[in-house]
């Protein structure tokens, strides 16, 4: 890349780039970095209140170090919220991944009414969460559809395991289409030739799914799972609207932070929010590190392919991607055959 011309103009370009990008940096600083820093700052302070002779509040804000964090440790409500958040994330993401994958595979097939099916699947994803939460609240109300269908009176919204189940169901209904959509996009770039090759090599339907489809769709699937995981960790509006505030069986960390802030306890609220932020960051990092090994090598391959594409005579990306995919496919098919042998 470092041809002499580029090297000479590099300094000037760098300055220009800095000038051109600085508005972006400023905006990012104000809308991302500042709130984070301000939240951390708030989480290190506590507001004390006293009443004067007329019963009017006199407030004082004091630096309290990590007190807001340490008080979270023995706090039952925080621990419950942490557990609920984790529980919802693990269960909903697991179910949604399986369901989304199945839906994508179905949508990918050619069958009569596929367009309607695809559009129908997207409807839940298109409805705002608060609205669908309202919808599910009615379904799960004591006289609602759910109980009418089941033929008994289950108090879904009163808390307990039923409320958890209701949340999982509503969340799965709402976001499995998102997983399906991303996976479908991944499925559509797998060329038919790969399957033909696999078929010629004698792979059955199950083996084609296991050895061709899944590996090739894995990058899209992992991205979908990561998005869902980060989304589920900050779940707020569904339990808030569907079940309500301060219901221990479904309260998530976001709800807890919100409730603390609503009661003007900004220090503890900021501490809770910061812990949630760190939790999401760590979860995303671990996810990329553990499951991302394949994604990384894939990305590297992609990079090489693109580089090759650029260097090559053809300016069109499509054929290159196809041949790349074909190579991959063949490799996988070969791998599958070896596995069988």
């Amino acid at each position: 890349m470092s041809t002499p011309t580029i090297a000479r103009s590099r300094d000037g370009q760098g300055r220009l780039a800095a000038v051109l990008l600085s508005p972006t940096f400023a905006v990012l600083g104000v809308v991302i970095a500042f709130p984070i820093v301000a939240a951390v700052w708030d989480s290190l302070h506590r507001t004390t209140e006293e009443l004067d002779a007329d019963g009017l509040v006199v407030e004082a804000e004091r630096f309290s170090g990590l007190a807001n964090y340490t008080s979270l440790i023995g706090n039952d409500r925080f621990q419950t919220a942490l557990w609920n958040t984790t529980f919802f994330t693990v269960t909903t993401v697991a179910i949604e991944t399986l369901l989304g994958l199945a839906m994508a595979l179905l949508m990918h097939r050619a069958f009569r009414g596929r367009a309607i099916f695809r559009a129908g699947v997207l409807v839940p994803w298109a409805i705002p969460t608060a609205i669908s939460a309202l919808l599910w609240r009615w379904i799960f109300s004591a006289d609602g559809v759910a109980n009418a269908v089941l033929g008994r009176e289950i108090l879904w919204t009163a808390g307990g395991l039923e409320a958890k189940l209701a949340i999982i169901l509503a969340d799965t209904w709402k976001t499995a289409p998102f997983v399906a959509l991303l996976v479908l996009a991944g499925l559509q770039v797998i060329p038919d030739e790969v399957y033909e090759a696999a078929r010629v090599d004698g792979a059955g339907a199950w083996q084609r799914l296991r050895s061709v489809t899944l590996p090739l769709v894995m990058p899209s699937l992992l991205v979908a799972v990561m998005f869902r995981m980060m989304d589920a960790l900050r779940m707020f509006d569904l339990p808030q609207v569907m079940i309500g505030t301060r219901k221990p069986s479904v309260e998530t960390l976001s709800q807890l932070a919100w409730d603390e802030a609503m009661n003007l306890r900004y220090g503890p609220a900021a501490a809770t929010a910061t812990v949630l932020f760190l939790y999401i960051a760590v979860a995303a990092f671990v996810f990329v590190r553990i499951l991302g090994a394949d994604m990384l090598s894939e990305a590297k391959d992609d990079g090489k392919a693109v580089a090759r594409g650029r260097g090559g005579s053809s300016p069109h990306k499509q054929p290159d991607m196809l041949s790349e995919a074909k190579d991959d496919g063949k490799a996988v098919a070969r791998g599958g055959k070896e596995g069988k042998a």
Partner: protein
């Protein structure tokens, strides 16, 4: 998409973090420069006159707009603009609190829920009113009480009301019960009789609002008061372990146990309960006045139209005591035109304007004279019952941290009515929680 997970941090991100964080830190430090100093929000009064805003709930009937129009015609230099806040109480409070914390003068006259008075007054977000100018003696006394904090009037009563008992006249008649119950025992007795009649088969007996939200605090306070107890005494000390207070809680717990209150009661809010009553599935129902108009609807939406009436709430040994609801009007401490704001409040809560407002909407108003007005009674037949109920009604606990008080009540009462804790234990725990929150 796969590139998002490329290992390590791309160099671009690394180079951008440093300036961004520095800038953010500078901003944060600038914003927090004054921390550590005691903050006492200076709620300065002024005699400013000029255009003002009136932050209130949704104006469903368009009446407020009409009344404001009259004011505007008479005061060309002090025009009032209506700002509609969310209908949901929590959201309204959130918006008002945020507004007050940034000391915004966007709202001049604000509508406060009766239970927010203490918080808004103590935090100096609203200003005291000149009580004598409002003719305090002509208000419903209990409603006026909800506008006071430490003896001073901070909010002028506007809408008011308390819980009343809706009951099915047809079912009671069929069962041979002549008058609505005045005590809990009579209520259970009447239910038992109704259930033996063919008409009453399958109907649930009694329900209020027992989901875990503000409504539970209201219903719990009513049960405690109706048994002769009180949640907080005159000195602001919690008294929920008194024998009377426990008897009130016991009534709710027993109600769930013996089926007086259906199990689904723990999911009922105002609207769910109203629908159940309106569909003919409840013999007795505790709710606010707004239900009257809807249950009387003749368009087929109500199955109990013409078959119900209202009575004061029953109590342990005699008529019970309801909890006061209602909305009051205050002048924001951050208003630039406070003299106009005060005049406007005086105008909107005046007897004639209230009467005009009352004709268009069914929520009971704060001037006592309206409850004896034959035209009003003809339009709202529940008014005499409401008047009687308001005589014994009590405001909810006056506490600066009211929302936390309410949350504590909800936590422990829910534990009791769902059978997770015995009444004694729940009362003791609640007493401890409330003691930590008393001002």
């Amino acid at each position: 998409m796969t590139t998002t997970s490329a290992g390590g941090r791309p160099p671009l991100a690394r180079s951008l973090t440093v300036p961004a964080v520095t800038a953010a830190l500078a901003l944060a430090l600038a914003a927090c420069g004054g921390s550590g100093e005691p903050k006492s929000p200076a709620a300065s009064t002024n005699e400013g006159r000029g255009p003002i805003t009136f932050a209130t709930g949704k104006d469903l009937t368009g009446t407020i707009q009409k009344l404001v129009g009259k004011w505007n015609a008479a005061h060309p230099d002090e025009q009032v603009r209506i700002i509609e806040l969310p209908e949901d109480g929590d959201q309204t409070r959130q918006q008002l609190v945020q507004n007050a914390q940034i000391k915004s003068d966007a709202y001049d006259v604000i509508r406060l829920d009766a239970v927010w008075t203490a918080e808004f007054a103590a935090r100096r977000w609203v200003l005291p009113l000149q009580e004598e100018k409002l003719e305090p003696a002509t208000f419903v006394p209990a409603a006026l009480e909800t506008g006071r904090y430490r003896g001073k009037l901070y909010a002028a009563p506007w809408l008011t009301g308390t819980g009343i008992l809706y009951y099915r006249t047809d079912l009671l008649k069929a069962a041979g019960v002549k008058s609505p119950p005045q005590t809990w025992a009579e209520l259970q007795d009447a239910c038992a009789k109704v259930k033996k009649t063919p008409e009453g088969e399958g109907a649930d007996c009694y329900a209020g609002q027992y989901d875990k939200y503000e409504g539970l605090t209201v219903n719990y306070s009513e049960a405690v008061q109706s048994a002769g107890g009180q949640v907080f005494d005159a000195q602001g000390k919690p008294q929920v372990t008194s024998p009377q207070a426990k008897a009130g809680l016991q009534f709710l717990v027993d109600g769930f146990k013996n089926g007086t209150i259906p199990p689904k009661g723990v999911t009922l809010k105002e609207e769910e309960g109203r629908r159940a009553f309106q569909d003919g599935r409840l013999v007795f129902h505790r709710n606010w006045a707004y239900v009257y108009a809807m249950a009387s609807a003749k368009d087929g939406t109500s199955k109990v139209n013409g078959k119900f009436d209202v009575a004061p709430l029953p109590g342990k040994d005699g008529p019970g005591s309801g909890t006061l609801g209602g909305n009051n009007l205050s002048v924001s401490a951050f208003s630039k035109h406070q003299a106009t704001s005060r005049d406007f409040i005086q105008y909107i809560v005046s007897l004639d304007v209230q009467r005009e407002y009352g004709k268009e909407q069914s929520f009971p108003l704060s001037r006592a004279a309206l409850y004896d007005d034959p035209a009003m009674i003809k339009q709202y037949p529940y008014l005499p019952v409401m008047k009687k109920s308001l005589e014994t009604a009590k405001p909810r606990p006056v506490a600066i941290r009211y929302s936390e008080v309410s949350a504590a009540v909800q936590d422990h009462v829910t534990a009791a009515v769902t059978g997770k804790k015995p009444v004694d234990q729940a009362a003791a725990d609640l007493q401890a929680a409330l003691s930590g929150l008393a001002d």
